[in-house]
């Protein structure tokens, strides 16, 4: 057995691979199912970005909360939301994690600390500040994470939240998942500052930029800033520079991307491939370990799809439930 140069045990590394691989399989499969026309509404896929969600979520505890973006499947899976429940929700079935009433853009599981994917970009930032405020009152070292994309990083809600978090010294971490495109618009055009680190310091908090396709880089940087937040050191901003394999939404022809760009990044900047290569080269996990994992995940996602297809839609009576606790 080779010695392990990583700050994570062999089992932890296998779990991490499993999480990232589950996200990848889930998203690739949703892409296929969506193209068949069986998934209603809008879907935004996280494939290619797995290292960010996983690198961060590996540090989180049950009572830590996350507020996600419209591209929330990856955050959900990394936070431990049930895969089958998620698939059913995306298909709009009663067995979904939201009873079929939220859909992909509002997928959530508060029991798991996942405060929801959000159809309103930037809306999660104040909510995460609220979760951090509640954590501060609880005083158990819990934290909250606010995920935004490069697009939403320009929303007033996000900027206001940076300020609020700083002045109230909230245990919240703002993660900017910069995949270079806000829908079709480039970050180079839309974001005024050269580096999110500057934007962070403009709001009185430290900022770090990492390669979001490198699990270990995300893991290490996130670990440090999360530890700081838990210890009362206040908010920080983490920029994960990454790429998305699919379009902004399913159905996006991505004509705003350069020719061959997606094929190129799938070949050269696939975070799963680089993670696998790193851990197998170090001899900590073997190709066989990873492949065993792969086949279990493919079966799981496959089952999730068939069960989702079989499940019932919500019924008319469900339309009127859960508007209020009581009215």
């Amino acid at each position: 057995m080779s010695d392990n140069p990583f700050p994570l045990s062999r089992d932890e590394l296998l779990n991490i691979y499993q999480t990232m691989r589950t996200i990848r399989e889930f998203e690739e499969r949703v892409h296929v199912e969506f193209s068949r026309g069986d998934i209603p509404g809008f879907v935004h896929l996280y494939a290619g970005e797995e290292a960010s969600a996983t690198g961060i979520m590996t540090h989180l505890r049950k009572d830590d909360r996350i507020a996600s973006t419209h591209r929330g499947h990856g955050h959900c899976i990394a936070k431990g939301v049930d895969v089958k429940g998620m698939m059913a929700e995306i298909f709009g079935k009663k067995t979904g994690v939201c009873g079929g009433k939220g859909g992909s853009m509002h997928i959530a599981d508060l029991d798991k600390g996942m405060m929801g994917a959000n159809g309103i970009l930037g809306a999660g930032a104040p909510l995460a500040c609220g979760a951090a405020l509640a954590a501060k009152y609880r005083d158990k070292g819990d934290i909250a994470i606010s995920f935004v994309g490069d697009g939403a990083s320009n929303q007033g809600t996000f900027l206001e939240s940076l300020n609020l978090a700083s002045i109230w010294n909230l245990p919240v971490v703002f993660v900017v998942e910069n995949n270079g495109y806000a829908e079709s618009t480039s970050v180079d055009w839309a974001v005024a500052c050269d580096s999110y680190v500057d934007r962070a310091s403009g709001f009185g908090m430290p900022g770090v930029t990492v390669d979001g396709t490198d699990f270990f880089a995300v893991y290490e940087a996130a670990g440090e800033i999360i530890r700081r937040a838990r210890e009362g050191g206040g908010p920080s901003l983490l920029e994960c520079k990454m790429i998305r394999f699919f379009g902004h939404f399913e159905g996006d022809a991505q004509t705003y991307r350069a020719e061959g760009e997606v094929d190129d990044i799938r070949a050269k900047r696939d975070c799963l491939k680089s993670f696998s290569k790193t851990v197998t080269a170090a001899g900590v996990l073997s190709q066989a370990d990873l492949e065993a994992c792969d086949s279990k995940i493919v079966s799981l996602v496959d089952e999730a799809v068939s069960e989702a297809r079989e499940a019932d839609f919500p019924i008319e009576a469900d339309l009127l439930t859960d508007v209020y606790v009581n009215y």
Partner: protein, 333 residues
């Protein structure tokens, strides 16, 4: 034991008693304490109208000043509510809803539904509504119908000190998002209020006056106008039922319908602008559900379809008066 205090003091008392009862009730708003970070007095303001004065001295950390950042701090109050806190956040003037409305109507209002029942958002957003102090167009609106329109929100609008305290305590204990509308012109109005804690349930309109000839439905500052008009009309031999809705969502239509089925005549008084208002809502519901009982057309007394003017001469006309209510009643006879 009951004694006479003002609408503003009644609200302060409700907050104070609830904050004492439950440490999870946290209060926040711009200048709610007043003076944070400034060199002078702590608790310098206690809110722009002094409504929250004294709470900092008694409850310390449970009340906090916020920066000028509605979408951030209203959103934070909402987020904290989903995590088990019971925040009471102040959106200073209802007219400011534009800068934070998403957090209220797309987030707080919809969590329970979108998340299949799992979320609970027990947040109260206290806000000043109404005209009458020359605060002009951007600080004098009612906007109550906009919140009422949104499924998932509750809307409360007390007309007197007793109701203000009981309804606010109920709002804080309620597990849904509540928009608690405080009429800025009523802050100084005095009334009998019990010292102990008490609640007034939602969807229980208050029949302020029994008459039998005409039903007048009102809420907020208009309740006083309706009562004055009813007194004038009584001298003419017309006896009015006056119903104070108290809560707009949920709304007690049963009481309204019962009264109209008896009187056959309805006047709705609403300080808000006339299109798509509480007045049109109540009128339509009555027309649909009690049509056969109606002996005359329904009359609505509202502000005109204009922004709130600044000059007193204009604001006085803008706000429905006792006289305009009485005139409307006479039209139904």
């Amino acid at each position: 034991m009951a004694r006479t205090i003002s609408y503003k003091e009644a609200i302060n008392e409700a907050l104070d008693q609830e904050m004492t009862r439950d440490k999870l009730v946290i209060v926040m708003g711009e200048d709610s304490i007043g003076g944070t970070g400034s060199p002078g007095e702590d608790d310098a303001w206690g809110g722009p109208m002094g409504v929250t004065k004294g709470l900092y001295g008694k409850h310390g950390d449970q009340i906090m000043d916020t920066p000028l950042s509605e979408s951030a701090y209203i959103g934070a109050a909402i987020g904290a509510a989903t995590c088990g806190m019971r925040p009471v956040a102040e959106m200073m003037f209802v007219d400011f809803m534009g800068v934070c409305f998403d957090q209220i109507y797309n987030q707080a209002a919809k969590f329970k539904y979108m998340f299949g029942g799992k979320a609970e958002t027990p947040v109260v957003i206290r806000t000043m509504v109404g005209a009458g102090i020359n605060a002009a167009a951007q600080h004098s609106q009612m906007l109550t119908s906009i919140f009422t329109h949104i499924p998932g929100l509750k809307v409360v609008c007390p007309s007197n000190p007793y109701d203000a305290k009981g309804l606010l305590i109920q709002s804080i204990r309620d597990n849904d998002p509540v928009i608690f509308c405080e009429h800025k012109s009523l802050y100084g109005v005095e009334g009998e209020v019990s010292e102990e804690s008490y609640v007034i349930p939602f969807a229980e309109a208050n029949v302020m006056r029994d008459g039998g000839d005409v039903t007048i439905v009102a809420y907020g500052m208009m309740v006083g106008k309706a009562m004055d008009a009813a007194e004038t009309l009584a001298k003419e031999g017309v006896e009015c039922d006056v119903i104070d809705l108290r809560t707009l969502s949920p709304i007690d239509m049963e009481t309204v319908l019962e009264s109209v089925e008896n009187t056959g005549r309805l006047v709705v008084v609403d300080e808000a602008n006339p299109r798509c208002s509480i007045a049109t809502d109540v009128s339509a519901q009555v027309a649909q559900q009690a049509f056969k009982s109606l002996k005359a057309q329904i009359e609505m007394v509202t502000a005109p379809h204009t922004p709130v003017p600044f000059a007193s001469s204009l604001e006085d006309i803008y706000i429905p008066s006792n006289d305009s209510v009485a005139i409307a009643v006479r039209k139904t006879l």
